[in-house]
Amino acid sequence: MRLPLNRSGTGRTGAVLATALVAVVMVVLVGPIILLAVFSFNDSTIIALPFEGFTWRWYVEAFTDPDVADSLRNSTVLAAVISPLCVVLGTATAWAITRFRFPGRGLWSALAGAPLVIPWLVMGVSGLLLFASVGIELSLLTVGAMHIAVTFPLVTALVSARLVRFQRSQEEAAVDLGASQWQLMTKVVLPQLAPTLGAALIFSFAWSFNNFEISFFTGGYEQTFPVWVYSVLRRSDNLPIVNAVSTAVSLVQVAVVYGMWLALQAISRRRGSQESLTDMVAGGLR
């Protein structure tokens, strides 16, 4: 059936507006990253047009610089350790908050959520003051401790949102059929939570890897990647090297996130879930 002319016109206008909106958002979000990537191949230390010629040398310099290698290794190891810890801690917290009634539950929930709204700068300075006052020397461990403090609440929020939407009748049915707590968790709850936990793992990794404020203040003499970037930006000579390594890191991060996303979708499809992955990750927040 042909649509009436006015509805068809409205639809086209809507489509044009929607496309324009998406284009603007893409330019704002992706534009700076594309510029960063483009200038990482520019044969000049100054980030301005005209383009001086194509070169790979900033990539060569970046990946032969021991400071870059050290900072990337530190950030990767830190995030790789922090993210699964946060998933465990955040999931346990979410389970406790959504499934049990105990004294101080409201206070515990508020405490668990507080790092999500406290500025990271404040968390970083607070962490530094804490470690200094109790005489703990700053190191990657202190950075890691603070990363856990600010990252596990994110997992708690994501998993809580999922658990709130989760049909309790499934848990009750499992218990009625004689499932132990362990079986309930491993056979019923965790499979349902898997995509959310996967997404939480990705976000935790990214939060830890990309964190600057907390890493700067609570870090000692081993730099993380964002701290290295910030520290070397003072000299214009370093700009193209930062561009090159940042482009490479961004590409890897996008590839990892996209790969994980595809894997989670595949898991979701195999389970025959009717919900979209987005719904499972953040549906409860809406």
């Binding site: 301005a48 049990f100 200094a132 703990i136 218990v175 003499y221 930006l233 003072r234 000579d237």
Partner: protein, 360 residues
């Protein structure tokens, strides 16, 4: 099934995990091995280029048993904030305008110059600069410096410029950048206004300079406030600006990358920054800290500092500087300049600058 014990057990697990993490963290600190001038551990907290391998490699090679741990910052202000919050180090990079507040906060130990074999060789311009010596005690050892004047695009202004007043000349409206430092911006404006001793400005004069900059900004005179050397380089290269106040090193960096700018020492006077090292009040390896600082002001290390385009503080290092940097590295270049020490009413300066940056 009772749910209460599970919650309690969960709480216990969290408490144990947190305790274990704290213990691990506490154990994660550096070792407390034997510290001496040539062994143990030495911690430095500096700008990134200060510990350039080209400068410090001979020191680390000669002291293979000394574990040099380096932490870096992007600005001395940030470094000071971290030190104030309790960050522990042995050697800290200090610039003249931060020496006083760090000393007042008791974060720096007095320097015993008798432990520095190269101290007497330093040019008096630096050794006796206001801020290096506070209340009769040496607070920092100057190791590098540079002049701050005006830079302009040579092709765009063929007639040249020799005065800070050009920054406010309507002929250059929209093509001028102000270097984003609270001290330099206000001091340059003061010199453009005929004040000969800008660092002694009264609160009222600072207010007038603030109003002058704000009026110029409202009038579109300034394209932007440049956030450091990198930003300034990009602004000149892109042609967005043709004139700015700034350091000679910035001009050299632009020209080294195909730019064409000229740096001049304005007729009203030239500011000069000086940076060097202080010893942290809670330094652990003091002997190694002195050894490091003494090395850094030695002729050999100063030669490498000069090769980075900075003015060196030990004239004996001049023969070690590469031919192309001989002129810019010469300590005598800064004679008669105005050292950028912290003014007595620095709070008023900073507040004024914050208002300017906030567009207020």
């Amino acid at each position: 099934m009772s749910q209460q014990p599970i919650a309690r057990r969960y709480t216990q697990v969290i408490a144990c995990a947190s305790g274990a993490l704290l213990v691990l963290t506490a154990c994660g600190g550096g070792g407390d091995g034997e510290n001496s001038a040539t062994s143990g551990e030495l911690r430095t907290f500096t700008y990134e280029d200060t510990i350039d391998p080209g400068i410090i490699e001979p020191f680390t090679s000669a002291n293979a048993d000394l574990d040099l741990k380096t932490a870096i910052f992007d600005s001395v202000d940030e470094g000071a904030a971290k030190l104030n919050a309790g960050f522990g180090t042995d050697v800290v990079e200090v610039c003249l305008d931060e020496a006083k507040p760090l000393t007042e906060d008791q974060l720096l130990a007095p320097i015993d110059t008798s432990k520095l074999t190269n101290w007497d060789a330093l040019d008096p311009t630096f050794r006796e600069a206001k801020g290096v010596v506070i209340d009769g005690e040496v607070t920092m050892v100057p190791a590098s410096a540079g002049p701050h004047g005006i830079l302009y695009a040579t092709d765009a202004i063929p007639g040249g410029i020799d005065s800070y007043t050009a920054l406010f000349d309507p002929a250059y409206r929209g093509m001028v950048a102000l270097d984003g430092g609270w001290l330099t911006a206000l001091a340059d404006t003061a010199m453009a206004s005929g004040i000969t001793d800008p660092l002694a400005m009264t609160d009222e004069q600072i207010g007038e300079m603030k109003a002058k900059i704000q009026a110029a900004m409202a009038d579109g005179q300034f394209r932007t406030i440049a956030d450091g050397d990198s930003d300034m380089s990009n602004l000149f290269k892109s042609g967005e600006i043709i004139l700015a106040d700034g350091g000679r090193g910035t001009a050299e960096a632009i020209n080294a990358n195909g730019g064409n700018v000229t740096w001049v020492a304005p007729k009203e006077g030239t500011l000069s920054w000086m940076c060097g090292f202080g010893i942290s009040a809670d330094a652990v390896n003091v002997d190694a800290a002195y050894a490091f600082i003494d090395y850094y002001i030695s002729p050999a290390a100063q030669g490498a500092v000069g090769d980075l385009g900075y003015v060196i503080t030990n004239p004996n290092g001049l023969p070690e500087v590469a031919e192309e940097y001989q002129k810019t590295a010469n300590p005598s270049d800064l004679e008669g300049t105005i050292p950028q020490f912290e003014p007595d009413n620095a709070d008023v300066w900073r507040a004024a600058w914050q208002e300017i940056e906030a567009g207020g």
